[in-house]
Symmetry: C2
DNA sequence: TTGTCTTATTTTGTATGCAAGAAAAGTCAA
DNA sequence: TTGACTTTTCTTGCATACAAAATAAGACAA
């Protein structure tokens, strides 16, 4: 007979999770850049557990698509070349547009409330940013609500497999962002301010359209508006990334034409 | 200095792979049904390795989506309820349609040759089946070429992430097939023969349309024809599965309306 | 110096031991 | 018998030991 059975306050895989979060954080914060060799002994010491849970954590992170394990050669932070980046964007465009489409059909009242709340928070934040002097905390909060908006749609779609897939792509995308795109931020921060405010209004407008289409239960419109929104975001990522093309050893001339530029 | 460095004839993760293939085979052949408890000690004995590689194999299989690991409670063959099955079908429909669309744009000559070859083989086999008495080996070969056809399109799409995703869904689907659908085969094999031949011709016709759209570089047509083809396949799976609904403890009345029946 | 062979060190892959949690069996009152 | 409590057995999670492979360092001839 079970004592307390399931969902008692047990520590579940404590060490493996610990190692997993430790490594994931290091990767996503840019401390371990793409190609960084992830040696089990070092990681075990740094994260304070033994090699076994570290190995399991690495497998877990491989699943998440941010670590690459080659037998006998060990694990390293996933190297992302231009082709893979393009593939990731293609897939994300398709899956997230689809999630908007599904959300328009399947959403519950709570889903709508969540999406709307994220949207309205962004609206307020963008409003504040028109006149604010200390923009950094506002921008950070804006990014948070942006993610919340997209996540709420993903939840409203009601497909857990789809959600897991998209979240995986987001993680993948984060590595690109932290390592290849954020690098430019300092360079053009001078002109960014006014430029970005215009862009923020544009993003807000996109979100408004997407939200309304979902709320009105118009799947096709939701899909289209989400598609346009993401295409815009992705195109910008690509441009930013292209500036750092030197960092991509696998960049070939043939890869220059992007699929989303043609559609 | 490296001796022979990379890609020498090294045995890579021999034991883990061994355990992985052993377990995967058992699951996909139906020997370990959904919910089957996968105990490390037993698997270690059966597959002839120790517990460590078995654990790693289980993690691997979890990433493939066919095993479910709950901390402290151990691993078991993934239980698939109707909702998850529906989600899987939704996703597969979207992703494979997309792969046809991409294939129409990105295919190389070799891709077309491969797709065409699979198609023509199927054509010949269906022709033979019109008059054949011993149909089983022919049907088996037909299934093989069918998979080859879809795989060739996936390759032609030129997106490795997409491909990996779809292959994962196929694996997922295989579990459903072997455990919930194949069960019916014996029951209606009597009427199946003539019925199935009609269906084979229909599938062949679908493939022809898909192949031609891809070859002619018509992405939209390729997507649409692939979508219709898969919708047909999936709908049939659902019907077959519904016959065994008793086996799905999570089946709810609310789940009965299927998204693909409405579109 | 440079290139090649040999030796030493590091790191991975695997097996195994042990503690703590979960499942099963046993015990006993109603 | 049933139901709750206790005890036993089993299983997982983690640490560690060890062999084999890979990497790095050293030796030595040209």
């Amino acid at each position: 007979m079970p004592r307390k059975s399931l969902s008692s306050g047990t520590v579940e895989n404590a060490h493996t999770n610990q190692a997993c979060e430790f490594i994931r954080h290091k990767i996503l914060s840019g401390a371990y850049p793409p190609g960084y060799r992830l040696k089990t002994i070092a990681l075990a010491k740094e994260s304070g557990v033994s090699r076994t849970p570290v190995r399991e954590a690495l497998r877990q992170l491989q699943t998440e698509g941010i670590v690459d394990i080659r037998p006998r050669l060990g694990a390293c932070v996933r190297e992302i070349n231009f082709r893979e980046f393009k593939e990731m964007c293609e897939l994300r465009l398709t899956l997230e547009s689809f999630s908007a489409e599904l959300a328009a059909t399947n959403h519950s009242l709570e889903d709508i409330v969540e999406i709307q709340d994220a949207f309205e928070n962004m609206q307020v934040l963008v409003g504040k940013l028109e006149t604010a002097t200390e923009i950094d905390p506002l921008v950070q909060e804006l990014a948070k609500q942006d993610i919340r908006f997209h996540l709420a749609i993903l939840n409203a779609a009601g497909n857990s497999l789809l959600k897991a897939d998209v979240l995986r792509l987001h993680l993948f995308n984060k590595i690109v962002n932290i390592n290849f795109i954020r690098l430019n931020r300092d360079n053009d921060s001078a002109l960014a301010n006014t430029d970005n405010q215009e862009r923020r209004r544009w993003v807000l407008e996109c979100h408004r359209k997407i939200f309304e289409a979902i709320k009105a239960r118009q799947p096709e419109a939701a899909r289209q508006t989400m598609r346009e929104h993401l295409k815009d975001i992705i195109d910008r990522s690509v441009i930013a990334m292209a500036r750092n093309e030197k960092r991509f050893e696998s960049l070939r001339a043939a890869d220059s034409e992007l699929f989303y530029a043609s559609t």
